[in-house]
Symmetry: C2
Subunit: 259 residues, 2 copies
DNA sequence: CGGTACATTGAAGGGGCTCAATCCACGTGG
DNA sequence: CCACGTGGATTGAGCCCCTTCAATGTACCG
Protein backbone atom coordinates (compact mmCIF):
# COMPACT_ATOMS: atom_id res chain seq x y z
CA UNK A 1 0.00 0.00 0.00
CA UNK A 2 1.47 3.33 -1.03
CA UNK A 3 1.15 6.41 1.16
CA UNK A 4 -1.02 9.29 0.02
CA UNK A 5 0.85 11.34 -2.50
CA UNK A 6 0.30 14.74 -4.01
CA UNK A 7 1.41 13.39 -7.37
CA UNK A 8 -2.11 12.13 -8.13
CA UNK A 9 -3.49 15.35 -9.43
CA UNK A 10 -5.82 13.54 -11.69
CA UNK A 11 -7.34 10.09 -12.00
CA UNK A 12 -9.49 8.40 -14.65
CA UNK A 13 -12.49 8.38 -12.31
CA UNK A 14 -12.20 12.10 -11.74
CA UNK A 15 -11.75 12.74 -15.44
CA UNK A 16 -14.87 10.74 -16.16
CA UNK A 17 -17.09 12.26 -13.49
CA UNK A 18 -16.21 15.89 -14.09
CA UNK A 19 -17.47 15.49 -17.65
CA UNK A 20 -20.79 14.18 -16.46
CA UNK A 21 -21.47 16.06 -13.27
CA UNK A 22 -20.84 19.57 -12.08
CA UNK A 23 -18.49 19.04 -9.20
CA UNK A 24 -17.25 21.81 -6.97
CA UNK A 25 -13.49 22.17 -6.46
CA UNK A 26 -13.99 20.82 -2.95
CA UNK A 27 -15.72 17.76 -4.26
CA UNK A 28 -12.99 17.14 -6.80
CA UNK A 29 -10.39 17.38 -4.07
CA UNK A 30 -12.35 14.98 -1.93
CA UNK A 31 -12.75 12.57 -4.81
CA UNK A 32 -9.02 12.66 -5.44
CA UNK A 33 -8.37 12.12 -1.76
CA UNK A 34 -10.40 8.93 -1.85
CA UNK A 35 -8.06 7.57 -4.47
CA UNK A 36 -4.80 8.61 -2.92
CA UNK A 37 -4.09 5.36 -1.16
CA UNK A 38 -3.26 2.85 -3.86
CA UNK A 39 -2.29 -0.76 -4.23
CA UNK A 40 -0.54 -2.48 -7.09
CA UNK A 41 -1.77 -5.85 -8.31
CA UNK A 42 0.43 -7.71 -10.75
CA UNK A 43 -0.82 -9.05 -14.06
CA UNK A 44 -2.70 -12.33 -13.68
CA UNK A 45 -3.07 -11.99 -9.92
CA UNK A 46 -6.44 -11.77 -8.26
CA UNK A 47 -7.76 -8.48 -6.96
CA UNK A 48 -10.77 -10.15 -5.40
CA UNK A 49 -10.74 -13.82 -4.52
CA UNK A 50 -13.91 -15.83 -4.76
CA UNK A 51 -15.16 -16.87 -1.34
CA UNK A 52 -13.31 -14.22 0.60
CA UNK A 53 -14.82 -11.38 2.53
CA UNK A 54 -14.35 -7.72 1.69
CA UNK A 55 -15.03 -4.48 3.50
CA UNK A 56 -14.15 -2.15 0.69
CA UNK A 57 -14.78 -1.22 -2.87
CA UNK A 58 -11.92 -0.53 -5.24
CA UNK A 59 -11.49 2.20 -7.78
CA UNK A 60 -9.48 1.19 -10.82
CA UNK A 61 -6.70 3.71 -11.28
CA UNK A 62 -4.69 1.96 -13.93
CA UNK A 63 -4.85 -1.25 -15.94
CA UNK A 64 -7.62 -3.66 -16.87
CA UNK A 65 -9.37 -6.26 -14.79
CA UNK A 66 -12.08 -8.83 -15.40
CA UNK A 67 -14.69 -10.45 -13.25
CA UNK A 68 -15.72 -13.88 -14.39
CA UNK A 69 -17.59 -17.06 -13.65
CA UNK A 70 -16.12 -20.50 -14.22
CA UNK A 71 -18.36 -23.52 -14.64
CA UNK A 72 -17.42 -26.98 -13.44
CA UNK A 73 -16.20 -28.17 -16.81
CA UNK A 74 -14.04 -25.13 -17.42
CA UNK A 75 -16.35 -23.01 -19.52
CA UNK A 76 -15.79 -19.40 -18.62
CA UNK A 77 -18.00 -16.36 -18.87
CA UNK A 78 -16.46 -12.96 -18.38
CA UNK A 79 -19.03 -10.92 -16.47
CA UNK A 80 -17.46 -7.54 -16.88
CA UNK A 81 -14.36 -5.73 -17.89
CA UNK A 82 -13.19 -2.92 -15.66
CA UNK A 83 -11.24 -0.04 -17.13
CA UNK A 84 -9.51 2.75 -15.23
CA UNK A 85 -12.12 4.87 -13.51
CA UNK A 86 -14.47 1.97 -12.87
CA UNK A 87 -15.53 0.69 -9.48
CA UNK A 88 -15.02 -2.96 -8.74
CA UNK A 89 -16.10 -5.15 -5.88
CA UNK A 90 -19.54 -3.65 -5.60
CA UNK A 91 -21.67 -6.73 -5.30
CA UNK A 92 -19.01 -8.65 -3.41
CA UNK A 93 -18.96 -6.38 -0.41
CA UNK A 94 -22.59 -6.97 0.48
CA UNK A 95 -22.18 -10.70 0.58
CA UNK A 96 -20.38 -12.57 3.30
CA UNK A 97 -18.12 -13.98 0.63
CA UNK A 98 -17.27 -12.73 -2.84
CA UNK A 99 -19.32 -14.58 -5.43
CA UNK A 100 -16.90 -14.20 -8.32
CA UNK A 101 -13.18 -13.60 -8.67
CA UNK A 102 -11.76 -10.41 -10.13
CA UNK A 103 -8.47 -10.80 -11.86
CA UNK A 104 -5.89 -8.33 -13.15
CA UNK A 105 -5.41 -8.63 -16.89
CA UNK A 106 -2.49 -6.23 -16.83
CA UNK A 107 -0.61 -4.74 -13.94
CA UNK A 108 -3.31 -2.88 -12.10
CA UNK A 109 -3.38 -0.03 -9.63
CA UNK A 110 -6.47 0.15 -7.43
CA UNK A 111 -7.55 2.42 -4.63
CA UNK A 112 -9.53 0.68 -1.89
CA UNK A 113 -12.39 2.69 -0.43
CA UNK A 114 -13.58 1.27 2.84
CA UNK A 115 -17.21 1.07 3.71
CA UNK A 116 -16.79 3.43 6.57
CA UNK A 117 -15.45 6.09 4.28
CA UNK A 118 -18.09 5.40 1.66
CA UNK A 119 -20.96 5.71 4.08
CA UNK A 120 -19.68 8.99 5.38
CA UNK A 121 -19.33 10.22 1.87
CA UNK A 122 -22.94 9.37 1.22
CA UNK A 123 -24.08 11.25 4.28
CA UNK A 124 -21.99 14.33 3.87
CA UNK A 125 -21.64 14.71 0.14
CA UNK A 126 -24.81 13.46 -1.46
CA UNK A 127 -23.96 15.31 -4.63
CA UNK A 128 -20.76 13.33 -5.00
CA UNK A 129 -22.49 10.19 -3.88
CA UNK A 130 -25.00 10.59 -6.68
CA UNK A 131 -22.16 10.75 -9.16
CA UNK A 132 -20.79 7.51 -7.82
CA UNK A 133 -24.25 6.04 -7.94
CA UNK A 134 -24.40 6.94 -11.58
CA UNK A 135 -21.35 4.76 -12.13
CA UNK A 136 -23.30 1.83 -10.77
CA UNK A 137 -26.25 2.69 -12.96
CA UNK A 138 -24.09 2.85 -16.01
CA UNK A 139 -22.57 -0.47 -15.08
CA UNK A 140 -26.05 -1.94 -14.84
CA UNK A 141 -26.77 -0.60 -18.30
CA UNK A 142 -23.59 -2.19 -19.60
CA UNK A 143 -24.83 -5.49 -18.24
CA UNK A 144 -28.07 -5.00 -20.08
CA UNK A 145 -26.31 -4.38 -23.34
CA UNK A 146 -24.04 -7.35 -22.84
CA UNK A 147 -27.07 -9.52 -22.19
CA UNK A 148 -28.58 -8.28 -25.42
CA UNK A 149 -25.30 -8.85 -27.25
CA UNK A 150 -25.00 -12.41 -26.17
CA UNK A 151 -28.66 -13.24 -26.24
CA UNK A 152 -29.93 -11.65 -29.39
CA UNK A 153 -27.16 -10.36 -31.59
CA UNK A 154 -25.23 -12.31 -34.21
CA UNK A 155 -21.48 -12.66 -33.81
CA UNK A 156 -20.90 -9.77 -36.20
CA UNK A 157 -23.35 -7.41 -34.50
CA UNK A 158 -22.06 -8.51 -31.14
CA UNK A 159 -18.43 -7.75 -31.80
CA UNK A 160 -19.38 -4.48 -33.49
CA UNK A 161 -21.40 -3.36 -30.49
CA UNK A 162 -18.77 -4.42 -28.01
CA UNK A 163 -15.93 -2.63 -29.76
CA UNK A 164 -17.94 0.56 -29.92
CA UNK A 165 -18.69 0.29 -26.25
CA UNK A 166 -15.02 -0.07 -25.47
CA UNK A 167 -14.19 2.88 -27.72
CA UNK A 168 -16.68 5.07 -25.91
CA UNK A 169 -15.58 3.96 -22.46
CA UNK A 170 -11.95 4.62 -23.30
CA UNK A 171 -12.84 8.03 -24.68
CA UNK A 172 -14.59 8.97 -21.44
CA UNK A 173 -11.39 8.48 -19.50
CA UNK A 174 -9.22 10.15 -22.09
CA UNK A 175 -7.45 7.00 -23.24
CA UNK A 176 -8.80 6.89 -26.77
CA UNK A 177 -8.94 9.34 -29.62
CA UNK A 178 -11.74 9.78 -32.10
CA UNK A 179 -11.68 6.27 -33.50
CA UNK A 180 -9.00 4.12 -31.95
CA UNK A 181 -8.18 2.61 -28.59
CA UNK A 182 -5.82 0.09 -27.03
CA UNK A 183 -7.13 -3.47 -27.22
CA UNK A 184 -6.85 -5.00 -23.78
CA UNK A 185 -8.18 -8.43 -24.69
CA UNK A 186 -6.83 -11.38 -26.57
CA UNK A 187 -9.19 -13.08 -28.97
CA UNK A 188 -9.68 -15.81 -26.41
CA UNK A 189 -10.78 -13.29 -23.79
CA UNK A 190 -12.99 -11.55 -26.31
CA UNK A 191 -14.60 -14.92 -26.91
CA UNK A 192 -15.16 -15.50 -23.21
CA UNK A 193 -16.66 -12.03 -22.84
CA UNK A 194 -18.97 -12.35 -25.83
CA UNK A 195 -19.63 -16.08 -25.65
CA UNK A 196 -17.98 -16.92 -28.91
CA UNK A 197 -15.35 -19.53 -29.64
CA UNK A 198 -11.85 -18.29 -30.32
CA UNK A 199 -11.88 -19.32 -33.99
CA UNK A 200 -15.16 -17.58 -34.55
CA UNK A 201 -13.94 -14.38 -32.94
CA UNK A 202 -11.09 -14.50 -35.38
CA UNK A 203 -13.34 -15.05 -38.38
CA UNK A 204 -15.66 -12.29 -37.23
CA UNK A 205 -12.82 -9.83 -36.88
CA UNK A 206 -11.59 -10.81 -40.32
CA UNK A 207 -15.01 -10.12 -41.74
CA UNK A 208 -15.11 -6.70 -40.10
CA UNK A 209 -11.65 -6.01 -41.50
CA UNK A 210 -12.61 -7.13 -45.00
CA UNK A 211 -15.70 -4.95 -44.85
CA UNK A 212 -13.49 -1.98 -44.04
CA UNK A 213 -15.12 -1.38 -40.67
CA UNK A 214 -12.44 -2.25 -38.14
CA UNK A 215 -8.77 -3.01 -38.13
CA UNK A 216 -6.58 -4.18 -35.31
CA UNK A 217 -2.86 -3.62 -35.41
CA UNK A 218 -0.38 -3.98 -32.61
CA UNK A 219 -3.03 -4.22 -29.89
CA UNK A 220 -4.69 -1.08 -31.14
CA UNK A 221 -8.23 -1.11 -32.50
CA UNK A 222 -9.07 1.31 -35.31
CA UNK A 223 -12.71 1.86 -36.05
CA UNK A 224 -12.61 2.79 -39.71
CA UNK A 225 -16.28 3.68 -40.02
CA UNK A 226 -18.01 4.52 -36.76
CA UNK A 227 -21.31 5.26 -38.50
CA UNK A 228 -21.51 1.98 -40.35
CA UNK A 229 -20.33 -0.04 -37.37
CA UNK A 230 -22.88 1.64 -35.09
CA UNK A 231 -25.61 0.81 -37.56
CA UNK A 232 -24.43 -2.78 -37.76
CA UNK A 233 -24.24 -3.23 -34.00
CA UNK A 234 -27.30 -1.12 -33.19
CA UNK A 235 -25.08 0.91 -30.92
CA UNK A 236 -26.30 4.03 -29.19
CA UNK A 237 -23.95 5.43 -26.64
CA UNK A 238 -26.36 7.21 -24.33
CA UNK A 239 -26.13 4.43 -21.76
CA UNK A 240 -22.50 5.31 -21.21
CA UNK A 241 -22.53 9.06 -21.21
CA UNK A 242 -25.87 10.47 -20.24
CA UNK A 243 -26.13 11.46 -16.66
CA UNK A 244 -28.81 13.36 -14.85
CA UNK A 245 -28.40 14.66 -11.36
CA UNK A 246 -31.60 13.84 -9.52
CA UNK A 247 -33.41 17.01 -8.57
CA UNK A 248 -33.06 17.04 -4.80
CA UNK A 249 -29.33 16.65 -5.27
CA UNK A 250 -28.94 19.06 -8.13
CA UNK A 251 -30.03 21.79 -5.78
CA UNK A 252 -27.47 20.62 -3.27
CA UNK A 253 -30.10 20.43 -0.59
CA UNK A 254 -30.11 16.71 -0.13
CA UNK A 255 -29.40 16.87 3.56
CA UNK A 256 -31.86 19.63 4.22
CA UNK A 257 -34.99 18.00 2.87
CA UNK A 258 -36.96 16.26 5.56
CA UNK A 259 -38.53 12.86 5.24
CA UNK B 1 -52.68 6.67 -6.39
CA UNK B 2 -54.14 5.22 -3.22
CA UNK B 3 -53.87 6.95 0.12
CA UNK B 4 -51.71 5.46 2.85
CA UNK B 5 -53.55 2.69 4.54
CA UNK B 6 -53.04 0.76 7.71
CA UNK B 7 -54.09 -2.40 5.93
CA UNK B 8 -50.55 -2.95 4.61
CA UNK B 9 -49.20 -4.66 7.66
CA UNK B 10 -46.84 -6.65 5.57
CA UNK B 11 -45.29 -6.48 2.11
CA UNK B 12 -43.09 -8.84 0.10
CA UNK B 13 -40.13 -6.49 0.43
CA UNK B 14 -40.46 -6.42 4.18
CA UNK B 15 -40.88 -10.18 4.32
CA UNK B 16 -37.71 -10.58 2.29
CA UNK B 17 -35.56 -8.13 4.19
CA UNK B 18 -36.47 -9.22 7.69
CA UNK B 19 -35.17 -12.67 6.86
CA UNK B 20 -31.84 -11.29 5.75
CA UNK B 21 -31.22 -8.37 8.05
CA UNK B 22 -31.90 -7.66 11.68
CA UNK B 23 -34.29 -4.74 11.50
CA UNK B 24 -35.57 -2.91 14.51
CA UNK B 25 -39.35 -2.49 14.89
CA UNK B 26 -38.89 1.16 14.02
CA UNK B 27 -37.10 0.29 10.84
CA UNK B 28 -39.79 -2.17 9.85
CA UNK B 29 -42.42 0.48 10.42
CA UNK B 30 -40.46 2.93 8.34
CA UNK B 31 -40.00 0.39 5.57
CA UNK B 32 -43.71 -0.27 5.55
CA UNK B 33 -44.40 3.42 5.47
CA UNK B 34 -42.35 3.78 2.33
CA UNK B 35 -44.63 1.34 0.61
CA UNK B 36 -47.92 2.70 1.82
CA UNK B 37 -48.62 4.87 -1.20
CA UNK B 38 -49.38 2.52 -4.05
CA UNK B 39 -50.32 2.62 -7.69
CA UNK B 40 -52.03 0.00 -9.81
CA UNK B 41 -50.75 -0.76 -13.29
CA UNK B 42 -52.88 -2.97 -15.49
CA UNK B 43 -51.60 -6.05 -17.23
CA UNK B 44 -49.67 -5.22 -20.41
CA UNK B 45 -49.35 -1.54 -19.56
CA UNK B 46 -45.99 0.11 -19.09
CA UNK B 47 -44.73 0.99 -15.64
CA UNK B 48 -41.71 2.79 -17.05
CA UNK B 49 -41.71 4.15 -20.57
CA UNK B 50 -38.52 4.21 -22.57
CA UNK B 51 -37.30 7.74 -23.13
CA UNK B 52 -39.20 9.28 -20.27
CA UNK B 53 -37.76 10.84 -17.17
CA UNK B 54 -38.27 9.52 -13.64
CA UNK B 55 -37.63 10.89 -10.20
CA UNK B 56 -38.50 7.81 -8.28
CA UNK B 57 -37.84 4.16 -7.81
CA UNK B 58 -40.68 1.70 -7.46
CA UNK B 59 -41.11 -1.18 -5.13
CA UNK B 60 -43.07 -4.08 -6.54
CA UNK B 61 -45.87 -4.90 -4.14
CA UNK B 62 -47.84 -7.32 -6.25
CA UNK B 63 -47.60 -8.88 -9.69
CA UNK B 64 -44.81 -9.47 -12.18
CA UNK B 65 -43.05 -7.03 -14.46
CA UNK B 66 -40.30 -7.28 -17.05
CA UNK B 67 -37.68 -4.90 -18.34
CA UNK B 68 -36.61 -5.57 -21.88
CA UNK B 69 -34.72 -4.39 -24.91
CA UNK B 70 -36.13 -4.52 -28.42
CA UNK B 71 -33.85 -4.52 -31.44
CA UNK B 72 -34.76 -2.89 -34.72
CA UNK B 73 -35.93 -6.09 -36.35
CA UNK B 74 -38.11 -7.11 -33.45
CA UNK B 75 -35.78 -9.43 -31.60
CA UNK B 76 -36.43 -9.03 -27.91
CA UNK B 77 -34.23 -9.65 -24.90
CA UNK B 78 -35.82 -9.63 -21.48
CA UNK B 79 -33.30 -8.00 -19.17
CA UNK B 80 -34.90 -8.85 -15.89
CA UNK B 81 -38.02 -10.13 -14.27
CA UNK B 82 -39.25 -8.30 -11.20
CA UNK B 83 -41.21 -10.16 -8.57
CA UNK B 84 -43.00 -8.67 -5.59
CA UNK B 85 -40.44 -7.22 -3.21
CA UNK B 86 -38.06 -6.16 -5.98
CA UNK B 87 -37.03 -2.64 -6.79
CA UNK B 88 -37.52 -1.43 -10.31
CA UNK B 89 -36.45 1.71 -12.09
CA UNK B 90 -33.03 1.83 -10.53
CA UNK B 91 -30.86 2.55 -13.52
CA UNK B 92 -33.51 4.64 -15.22
CA UNK B 93 -33.63 7.30 -12.57
CA UNK B 94 -30.02 8.32 -12.98
CA UNK B 95 -30.38 8.90 -16.67
CA UNK B 96 -32.17 11.83 -18.19
CA UNK B 97 -34.39 9.34 -19.94
CA UNK B 98 -35.21 5.72 -19.18
CA UNK B 99 -33.11 3.43 -21.34
CA UNK B 100 -35.50 0.49 -21.37
CA UNK B 101 -39.22 0.04 -20.87
CA UNK B 102 -40.66 -1.85 -17.91
CA UNK B 103 -43.93 -3.55 -18.58
CA UNK B 104 -46.52 -5.18 -16.34
CA UNK B 105 -46.96 -8.85 -17.14
CA UNK B 106 -49.89 -9.14 -14.78
CA UNK B 107 -51.84 -6.49 -12.95
CA UNK B 108 -49.18 -4.89 -10.82
CA UNK B 109 -49.18 -2.82 -7.67
CA UNK B 110 -46.12 -0.62 -7.16
CA UNK B 111 -45.09 1.86 -4.53
CA UNK B 112 -43.13 4.83 -5.87
CA UNK B 113 -40.31 6.03 -3.65
CA UNK B 114 -39.14 9.46 -4.60
CA UNK B 115 -35.52 10.41 -4.63
CA UNK B 116 -35.99 12.92 -1.93
CA UNK B 117 -37.34 10.28 0.39
CA UNK B 118 -34.68 7.81 -0.61
CA UNK B 119 -31.83 10.19 0.05
CA UNK B 120 -33.15 11.03 3.46
CA UNK B 121 -33.48 7.39 4.20
CA UNK B 122 -29.84 6.88 3.32
CA UNK B 123 -28.76 9.67 5.60
CA UNK B 124 -30.87 8.84 8.58
CA UNK B 125 -31.17 5.10 8.48
CA UNK B 126 -27.97 3.70 7.06
CA UNK B 127 -28.81 0.30 8.47
CA UNK B 128 -31.97 0.17 6.40
CA UNK B 129 -30.22 1.72 3.45
CA UNK B 130 -27.68 -1.08 3.51
CA UNK B 131 -30.50 -3.59 3.32
CA UNK B 132 -31.85 -1.83 0.26
CA UNK B 133 -28.37 -1.73 -1.17
CA UNK B 134 -28.19 -5.45 -0.76
CA UNK B 135 -31.21 -5.75 -3.02
CA UNK B 136 -29.26 -3.99 -5.73
CA UNK B 137 -26.28 -6.24 -5.12
CA UNK B 138 -28.40 -9.30 -5.40
CA UNK B 139 -29.90 -7.95 -8.60
CA UNK B 140 -26.41 -7.49 -9.99
CA UNK B 141 -25.65 -11.09 -9.10
CA UNK B 142 -28.80 -12.20 -10.87
CA UNK B 143 -27.54 -10.40 -13.97
CA UNK B 144 -24.28 -12.25 -13.68
CA UNK B 145 -25.99 -15.58 -13.51
CA UNK B 146 -28.24 -14.72 -16.43
CA UNK B 147 -25.20 -13.76 -18.45
CA UNK B 148 -23.66 -17.10 -17.63
CA UNK B 149 -26.90 -18.87 -18.48
CA UNK B 150 -27.18 -17.34 -21.87
CA UNK B 151 -23.50 -17.27 -22.66
CA UNK B 152 -22.20 -20.59 -21.48
CA UNK B 153 -24.97 -22.95 -20.53
CA UNK B 154 -26.84 -25.33 -22.82
CA UNK B 155 -30.58 -24.92 -23.14
CA UNK B 156 -31.17 -27.68 -20.61
CA UNK B 157 -28.79 -26.26 -18.01
CA UNK B 158 -30.09 -22.80 -18.68
CA UNK B 159 -33.73 -23.60 -18.07
CA UNK B 160 -32.81 -25.69 -15.03
CA UNK B 161 -30.84 -22.85 -13.51
CA UNK B 162 -33.48 -20.29 -14.26
CA UNK B 163 -36.33 -22.29 -12.76
CA UNK B 164 -34.35 -22.86 -9.58
CA UNK B 165 -33.63 -19.16 -9.35
CA UNK B 166 -37.33 -18.38 -9.66
CA UNK B 167 -38.16 -21.02 -7.04
CA UNK B 168 -35.71 -19.48 -4.60
CA UNK B 169 -36.86 -15.94 -5.25
CA UNK B 170 -40.48 -16.89 -4.77
CA UNK B 171 -39.62 -18.70 -1.56
CA UNK B 172 -37.92 -15.61 -0.18
CA UNK B 173 -41.13 -13.65 -0.44
CA UNK B 174 -43.29 -16.46 0.85
CA UNK B 175 -45.01 -17.20 -2.45
CA UNK B 176 -43.63 -20.67 -3.01
CA UNK B 177 -43.49 -23.81 -0.97
CA UNK B 178 -40.65 -26.31 -0.82
CA UNK B 179 -40.66 -27.22 -4.49
CA UNK B 180 -43.32 -25.43 -6.46
CA UNK B 181 -44.17 -21.91 -7.51
CA UNK B 182 -46.52 -20.05 -9.85
CA UNK B 183 -45.15 -19.77 -13.38
CA UNK B 184 -45.46 -16.15 -14.44
CA UNK B 185 -44.07 -16.58 -17.95
CA UNK B 186 -45.37 -18.07 -21.14
CA UNK B 187 -42.93 -20.18 -23.11
CA UNK B 188 -42.44 -17.29 -25.48
CA UNK B 189 -41.42 -15.01 -22.61
CA UNK B 190 -39.19 -17.71 -21.20
CA UNK B 191 -37.52 -17.83 -24.57
CA UNK B 192 -37.01 -14.09 -24.65
CA UNK B 193 -35.56 -14.17 -21.16
CA UNK B 194 -33.21 -17.06 -21.83
CA UNK B 195 -32.50 -16.40 -25.49
CA UNK B 196 -34.11 -19.51 -26.78
CA UNK B 197 -36.71 -19.91 -29.50
CA UNK B 198 -40.19 -20.79 -28.40
CA UNK B 199 -40.09 -24.29 -29.92
CA UNK B 200 -36.81 -25.02 -28.24
CA UNK B 201 -38.10 -23.89 -24.86
CA UNK B 202 -40.90 -26.33 -25.33
CA UNK B 203 -38.59 -29.19 -26.27
CA UNK B 204 -36.35 -28.41 -23.33
CA UNK B 205 -39.24 -28.42 -20.89
CA UNK B 206 -40.40 -31.71 -22.33
CA UNK B 207 -36.98 -33.18 -21.77
CA UNK B 208 -36.95 -32.00 -18.16
CA UNK B 209 -40.39 -33.52 -17.73
CA UNK B 210 -39.37 -36.83 -19.28
CA UNK B 211 -36.31 -36.93 -17.05
CA UNK B 212 -38.58 -36.55 -14.04
CA UNK B 213 -37.01 -33.26 -12.96
CA UNK B 214 -39.71 -30.67 -13.54
CA UNK B 215 -43.38 -30.61 -14.35
CA UNK B 216 -45.59 -27.68 -15.17
CA UNK B 217 -49.31 -27.89 -14.69
CA UNK B 218 -51.84 -25.09 -14.71
CA UNK B 219 -49.24 -22.35 -14.54
CA UNK B 220 -47.57 -23.98 -11.56
CA UNK B 221 -44.03 -25.30 -11.73
CA UNK B 222 -43.18 -28.38 -9.69
CA UNK B 223 -39.53 -29.15 -9.17
CA UNK B 224 -39.58 -32.88 -8.73
CA UNK B 225 -35.93 -33.29 -7.84
CA UNK B 226 -34.25 -30.15 -6.55
CA UNK B 227 -30.95 -31.95 -6.00
CA UNK B 228 -30.66 -33.31 -9.51
CA UNK B 229 -31.85 -30.12 -11.13
CA UNK B 230 -29.36 -28.06 -9.13
CA UNK B 231 -26.58 -30.36 -10.24
CA UNK B 232 -27.71 -30.10 -13.85
CA UNK B 233 -27.95 -26.32 -13.79
CA UNK B 234 -24.91 -25.75 -11.57
CA UNK B 235 -27.20 -23.80 -9.27
CA UNK B 236 -26.04 -22.50 -5.93
CA UNK B 237 -28.44 -20.17 -4.25
CA UNK B 238 -26.09 -18.09 -2.14
CA UNK B 239 -26.32 -15.18 -4.57
CA UNK B 240 -29.97 -14.80 -3.67
CA UNK B 241 -29.98 -15.30 0.05
CA UNK B 242 -26.67 -14.48 1.61
CA UNK B 243 -26.45 -11.06 3.06
CA UNK B 244 -23.82 -9.51 5.23
CA UNK B 245 -24.29 -6.21 6.97
CA UNK B 246 -21.08 -4.26 6.45
CA UNK B 247 -19.32 -3.71 9.76
CA UNK B 248 -19.73 0.01 10.26
CA UNK B 249 -23.45 -0.43 9.76
CA UNK B 250 -23.83 -3.58 11.77
CA UNK B 251 -22.76 -1.61 14.79
CA UNK B 252 -25.33 1.01 13.95
CA UNK B 253 -22.70 3.71 14.17
CA UNK B 254 -22.70 4.66 10.54
CA UNK B 255 -23.43 8.29 11.17
CA UNK B 256 -21.00 8.61 14.02
CA UNK B 257 -17.85 7.51 12.24
CA UNK B 258 -15.89 10.42 10.87
CA UNK B 259 -14.32 10.56 7.46
C1' DC C 1 17.19 -20.09 -30.98
C1' DG C 2 13.77 -22.73 -28.95
C1' DG C 3 9.57 -21.89 -26.46
C1' DT C 4 5.36 -19.98 -25.43
C1' DA C 5 1.44 -17.34 -26.22
C1' DC C 6 -1.46 -15.74 -29.52
C1' DA C 7 -3.53 -15.51 -34.26
C1' DT C 8 -5.23 -17.77 -38.37
C1' DT C 9 -7.47 -21.00 -41.23
C1' DG C 10 -9.86 -25.34 -42.63
C1' DA C 11 -13.18 -29.28 -42.21
C1' DA C 12 -16.85 -31.50 -40.11
C1' DG C 13 -20.56 -31.78 -36.92
C1' DG C 14 -24.28 -30.32 -33.85
C1' DG C 15 -27.36 -27.54 -31.04
C1' DG C 16 -30.67 -24.59 -31.64
C1' DC C 17 -33.33 -21.76 -35.18
C1' DT C 18 -36.83 -21.04 -38.73
C1' DC C 19 -40.82 -22.26 -40.84
C1' DA C 20 -45.00 -24.56 -40.61
C1' DA C 21 -48.71 -27.19 -39.02
C1' DT C 22 -51.57 -28.83 -35.37
C1' DC C 23 -53.46 -29.04 -30.92
C1' DC C 24 -55.46 -27.46 -26.76
C1' DA C 25 -57.66 -24.51 -23.15
C1' DC C 26 -60.40 -20.98 -22.25
C1' DG C 27 -63.30 -17.02 -22.63
C1' DT C 28 -66.93 -14.78 -25.14
C1' DG C 29 -70.88 -14.00 -27.66
C1' DG C 30 -74.66 -15.70 -30.23
C1' DC D 1 -74.87 -24.27 -24.24
C1' DC D 2 -72.26 -24.59 -27.97
C1' DA D 3 -69.50 -22.34 -31.80
C1' DC D 4 -65.91 -19.88 -32.51
C1' DG D 5 -61.79 -17.09 -31.83
C1' DT D 6 -57.55 -16.42 -29.74
C1' DG D 7 -53.43 -17.05 -27.16
C1' DG D 8 -50.53 -20.44 -25.92
C1' DA D 9 -48.35 -25.24 -26.26
C1' DT D 10 -46.60 -29.00 -29.03
C1' DT D 11 -44.28 -31.30 -32.60
C1' DG D 12 -41.78 -32.08 -37.03
C1' DA D 13 -38.37 -31.12 -40.98
C1' DG D 14 -34.61 -28.82 -42.79
C1' DC D 15 -31.04 -25.74 -42.32
C1' DC D 16 -27.38 -22.64 -40.61
C1' DC D 17 -24.49 -20.29 -37.49
C1' DC D 18 -21.28 -21.33 -34.63
C1' DT D 19 -18.56 -24.99 -32.22
C1' DT D 20 -15.08 -28.45 -31.93
C1' DC D 21 -11.01 -30.37 -33.41
C1' DA D 22 -6.86 -29.87 -35.66
C1' DA D 23 -3.09 -27.93 -37.95
C1' DT D 24 -0.19 -24.13 -39.02
C1' DG D 25 1.59 -19.56 -38.80
C1' DT D 26 3.76 -15.77 -36.29
C1' DA D 27 5.64 -12.55 -32.90
C1' DC D 28 7.98 -11.86 -28.89
C1' DC D 29 11.10 -13.13 -25.08
C1' DG D 30 14.44 -15.26 -22.06
Amino acid sequence: MNPPSASWIDTPLTRKLVQLVDLSPDEVTLLQGLQSMTRLVRRNREIVTQGRRYDALFVMIEGISIRYRILRDGRRQILNIALPGDFIGFPACFFDRALYPISALTDVVVAPISFTVLINLFERHPHLAAAIFWSFSSEAAIYSERLTDIGRRTALERVAHFLLELLTRFQLIGLADECSFPMPLTQELLGDALSLSLPHVNRTLRQLREDGLVSIEAHQVFIKDVEALSALGDFEKSYLSRFRMPDPLAAGIGRAVSL
